[in-house]
Amino acid sequence: MSLLHINRLSLSIHGSTILKDVSLKVGAGRILGVIGESGSGKSMTAFSVLQLLPNGSACSGDISLSDKDILACSEEELCSLRGKEVGMVFQEPMTALNPLQTIGAQVAETILIHENVPKAEALARAAEALRRAELPQDRFPLSRYPHELSGGQRQRVVIAMAIALRPKLLIADEPTTALDVTTQAQILDLLKRLVAEDGMGLMLISHDLAVVADLADDLVIMRRGEVVESGPAAHLFRNMQHPYSRALLEASGHVPVKSARTTSAPLLQVRNVVREYASHSHGWWGQTTRFRAVDDVSFEIRKGESLGLVGESGCGKSTLTRAILGLEETQGGDILFDGEPVVVHHHANREVRRRMQVVFQDPYGSFNPRWRVDRLITEPYHLLDSPPQGSERREAIAEALESVGLTADDAGKYIHEFSGGQRQRIAIARALIIKPDLIVLDEAVSALDVSVRAQVLDLLADLGGRFGLTYLFISHDLSVVRSITERVLVMKSGKIVEEGPTEAVFDNPKDAYTKQLVDAAPVLPADVA
């Protein structure tokens, strides 16, 4: 008998259908992976189990939790289930905790709300729950506030809150999406251990097949509110039937066709670069301490090369990017582009700048919402002394748009008329329009769904060959870097810890940190991709 059984669940919110005939099962001590891209309804399925749905929601079908009919429960009964029988962990650990309460009080609250015990006992049990979530009391006492903890540590507090009463079922909605790879691996291990220890069922929701692959016993693949495929994980990975799941699997392990065209001539040279920030951390007239975001970094990018730069958040890769683009001055070292300095007399060198462009991560924040596409993608013309006018300009716009797979007619539209993937194509068109030599891709595909990501990676590979582009590809995602770059740099705490051909570095990491990073990165089972 399964612990949670959802049968033909349909959900509509204010009349629009969100879920259609979703069925799934979670058994005690088993892990169910629910996979889907954005808009697949995977999170709403999870929220339906606890009935924590937005106003205007209407459910039909059947949800039974240990033979209890959830949809027939009163709000009062639901409250007594939440936290006690079913725990829940959310995507965003940074905002999931009340900033004004100590972690001890927040974990103890789970206990106090369901059991009539003295506060001291609840706190003692909260300490135990935190310890099980690997936050030992000697380092993380109950009196800590959330802002004193890192994202991974906060997620552990949320997990402690969820498991304090040893629920039968734990629902984790993208629990590691907002975390770095190494932290992600630790949290996933923790969840796995808790499932084994308590014999609870786990419903693990993710957009990332690889995250779920080595954890889940069973899989459900969702798309647009429907289950397209489900079954035991080991079997399913080898026998995908539905074209969508096959496409998803293919896209996850997608490797674009690269054309080898690297020369030995250096295009960008970074020599002993140092970038420091002053932080006034010891009072307002105390001494200022300096924080080295980029610490004595040196490397080269060769013409035609595709170079990866990987590292976790806070490692200094964004600061380094800004320094290369000439947006921030450095405190030491040189950055030379084709032999010319990037910054001259405290100002960015225009000659150099017109040969470099950038594509950012966020397809929604990268464009002024009040401009039309033609104006958006011609913004880099500001760098030219005599930018094309009239028909010449129109042709250039059409060419740029067509080269990224859009049409010349798109020039008159506003950005909100495009999807995330299309926007990222427009960002690439904007980078291409002044025909640069180097394009910096700053987490350029990180916000995209896997299938769209695969298309954009193909486009980048294709454009690289056609226009002889050099790429600096910055990402936290090892699999993406592996698929598109020839050489890779690994950055940690402002330093480059390892450098070499991508395959060699990832297959045979020399540095301890690189090893940790590679081990932590979730991978699909080798025999399926």
Binding site: L52, S80, T95, N98, P99, L100, E109, Y145, E148, S281
Partner: protein, 315 residues
């Protein structure tokens, strides 16, 4: 915490100095001789000289500022020309009307706004919510001195529950004094309460949409428990900001409302001083009110630190 406190204290001191310079300079730009301006054209030469001496007009600007500001520090605001008494005494008397009035109004507006805002937010979209929002919409739009006049018409002239104006003084007992201040306090409190209700409601609704409320609900808290235990204190932070800002409006409003009810407070004092060109009194009252605004905002900053642990340990 100590660091935060010291930092605020320094900024408080700087603000006070800056404000005193602004006020001093503003009244220093009086065209011509301030003494002659104050006494009018027919003044005797020796009275003029006496006044100049008394105003300390015989030094450089810096000397005059320093002696004025130095006086302020020890509570010496100078001597009023028209009343021929120390300004500090005049202000002291009037403060016993204005301060209780402002506090009375602040208390009323808080007592109305908090429950009303919480009530409206917890019943978002209901008729109760719409009703509260409608009333506050009117409350924000109504000129408080006109509302005061209407109250005088209804409660003093027609119903004779209150006197139409004047202040018996605290000698007649606490309740007589409070009674005389009741209509003025209501008039003052109404617009403030309306604004505060709206702020309370929207801040609470914002907080109720936060992720940590969802976490609390997932623990098994009811909607109400989640609101009282988790949302309310978080929602208080913007409300405190607005309360701090409102204090200055309350003071300004008090000056006008005192006129409607003929209350012998700082407002009356300042208008009498303007008409009798008693610049020393004007200067002193303005300085005092600005001082009050700055100090209240300082207190609000400290209140933040009490509510929000993130500020307590911020370096």
């Amino acid at each position: 915490m100590l660091q935060y406190f010291l930092k605020r204290l320094l900024s408080l001191g700087l603000s006070l100095v800056a404000a005193s310079v602004v006020i001093f300079l503003a009244l220093e730009v009086v065209p011509g001789d301030p003494a002659a301006y104050m006494l009018g054209v027919n003044a005797q030469e020796d009275t003029l000289n006496a006044l100049r001496e008394q105003l300390g007009l015989n030094g450089t600007i810096l000397q005059r500022y320093l002696s004025w500001a130095g006086g302020l520090l020890v509570g010496d605001f100078g001597t009023s020309y028209t009343y021929r008494t120390p300004v500090s005494e005049l202000i002291g008397e009037r403060l016993w009307v204005s301060l209780p009035l402002a506090l009375y109004a602040l208390t009323l507006s808080t007592l109305i706004a908090f429950p009303a805002g919480i009530w409206a937010a917890s019943r978002r979209g209901s008729y109760a919510d719409a009703g509260v929002m409608g009333v506050t919409q009117l409350g924000v739009a109504i000129p408080n001195f006109w509302f005061a006049m209407l109250m005088v018409l209804v409660f003093a002239i027609n119903l004779r529950w209150f006197s139409a104006g004047g202040f018996p003084g605290w000698e007649d007992g606490f309740f007589a004094g409070m009674k005389a201040l009741t209509l003025p306090a209501i008039a003052l409190a109404l617009p403030q309460a309306s604004i505060l209700t709206r702020v309370m409601r929207s801040s609470l609704l914002d907080t109720l949409g936060e992720d940590f409320i969802r976490s609390a609900r997932a623990k098994g808290l009811t909607r109400g428990q989640a609101m009282w235990r988790h949302a309310l204190r978080n929602a208080l932070i913007p409300v405190l900001t607005i309360m701090g800002l409102q204090f200055s409006f309350l003071l300004a409003g008090a000056i006008i409302i005192e006129n409607v009810f003929f209350l012998p407070g700082l407002g009356r004092l300042v208008f009498q001083a303007i008409s009798s060109r008693d610049l020393i009194v004007v200067e002193s009252v303005v300085m005092l009110l600005v001082f009050a605004v700055i100090v209240v905002n300082f207190a609000v900053d400290l209140a933040y630190a009490l509510v929000d642990p993130r500020l307590r340990r911020r370096r």
